[in-house]
């Protein structure tokens, strides 16, 4: 936020010269502020450093939205010999008093970060999940449910809201909760915090599934087209979009150079082989109409494997 600006050019964005601590107007070169203090951190902290020699004097960044401004004083570890009492133990114990509501939140945030770490989710999704969890926690309408289940459901919702949905099975794989329980919590949370989630689409999963199967982008594009066309022509009523996506990938990969078996696709997508077969059976009769016009067939439609 530009609180100060050049007197001659009030619209100009000031450039910060951090070597000298100046803020300079780019139009006329006037030094508007000098000796401005860099508010970044003094020392960088890495996760693999041992905790013994942490020269930072201010501690970790505050978690403002979430834990309620935890400005407390902590007694540090004994540094010299005088810190230890008669029995060899530290004279002054560190009694860090975390409030009980914060404790549940903090452990949930830790669990969420572990889960998202396992599937390599970006920071934005983790932050959104944390925000959702806090909202749910404050509302207290899901009190009896296990925190792990609520955390997993929040993660699912966050992925959906960010436009990169993960299937329930994928979330289940990184959490210890059953799919049933996550589904139940999901429904309750949606109703409790009145969140808006859009319907899932086969196309949302194409890039992830195809890259896990090492399929080229041409096959991925074709599979997306096939899946959308199949839904448009209503060939697969009542089938989950994941199953349709898996069958579309099977069809597209079998028509190209990079063929994948139903078992491989089923493993990646979390869909049973039989389900892929059933959806493929529904899509097979209209295979000619499903492919895009500019698709290069290595195996022609007539030679595609019969369902």
């Amino acid at each position: 936020m530009n609180r100060v600006s050049c007197p001659h050019h009030p619209e100009a964005n000031l450039i910060e010269d951090y070597h000298a601590g100046d803020m300079i107007c780019p139009q006329c070169g006037l030094v508007v502020v000098d000796r401005c203090i860099d508010v970044g951190s003094e020392w960088r902290t890495f996760s693999n450093d041992k905790a013994t020699s942490d020269p930072s004097r201010v501690g970790a960044a505050e978690n403002p939205l979430l834990s309620g401004g935890d400005l407390s004083t902590i007694i540090g570890k004994p540094s010299g010999s005088s810190g230890y009492g008669e029995n060899g133990q530290a004279k002054y114990q560190n009694r860090k008093q975390v409030s009980s509501s914060d404790r549940a939140l903090l452990s949930a945030f830790r669990e969420i970060s572990h889960m998202s770490d396992r599937i390599n989710l970006p920071r934005t999704i983790v932050d959104r999940t944390n925000g959702l969890f806090k909202q749910v926690h404050e509302q207290r309408s899901l009190r009896g449910r296990s925190n792990d289940a609520i955390a997993a459901a929040c993660l699912y919702i966050a992925c959906r809201q960010e436009g990169v949905p993960r299937t329930f099975k994928e979330i289940c794989a990184v959490s210890r909760v059953s799919k049933k329980e996550i589904g139940r919590c999901f429904k309750l949370i949606i109703r409790a915090i009145e969140a808006n989630v859009s319907l899932i689409n086969s196309g949302d999963f194409m890039s992830r599934f195809c890259s896990n199967l090492s399929l080229p982008t041409s096959v991925q594009k074709a599979a997306t087209y096939v899946a959308n066309k199949a839904v448009e022509l209503d060939l697969v009523p009542g089938r989950s979009p994941i199953s349709v996506a898996a069958a579309a990938i099977y069809m597209a990969s079998q028509a190209s150079k990079e063929k994948r078996s139903q078992k491989e696709i089923g493993d990646i997508a979390g869909v049973a082989e039989i389900t892929i077969k059933q959806s493929y059976r529904l899509m097979f009769p209209k295979a000619m109409d499903l492919f895009p016009e500019d698709f290069k067939f290595v195996t022609r439609v007539e030679d595609l494997p019969a369902p």
């Binding site: 299937t167 999901f186 009145e194 209503d234 009523p237 009542g238 089938r239 989950s240 979009p241 994941i242």
Partner: protein
Amino acid sequence: MAGDISIKNLMSTFSVCCPLDLKKIGMEGINVEHKNGIVHKRFRNPKATCTIYSSGKVSIMGNNSEEDAKKTARQCARMLQKLGFRVRLNNFKVVNMLGTCTMPFGIKLAQFAKKQPRDKADYEPELHPAVTYRLKSPRATLKIFSTGSITVIAPCVENISQAIKQIYPLVEPHSTKLQEDVIAKKKMKKVKKQTRRKLEDSENTGGGKGSRGGTSSRKDNKSRAPLGVIN
């Protein structure tokens, strides 16, 4: 025009006004199962299951009509009376019933769910293949399938038929023609059920009479609430 609604399952409760010794019931009762501090008693005629709690509350599931439910309640109370408890059939209430109805067309669920307000319609294809639609003014929960079948859970038959009347104009714009094999499957299901009933019938009558005249005799076992023409 929608088809007939058939009531498939009724859930009702009543109370005998005294505490019950479940162990005694479990040992001395007929067709009972004592599990986890609850006694389940199965009745054959009409076919239903009673869940008996030690507080004296009984819940009955599986009946096809309200009269049958009352009959089962009376049978249950009689059985408990015979075992020596001072029972009274108190507060018999039909809590919920499940009715099914089939639309003559298929339904595009994704389109339908998009048009509805989020608090009423719930569609999660990963979790359940049907759209769960909750109505407030006749209190009912409807599950709408892509084949056009709709199941309604509501406290009374009136609610069920009103709910279907309300949902029909919402569902009709999203209708599609059913695929051939789906229609064939539905017909097969009906035929299979009819032949299964014929077998059951002939079993019940000791195999002497063979099949009764068609399946028309089965109509009185299920409550049918004909809807009539919907405009």
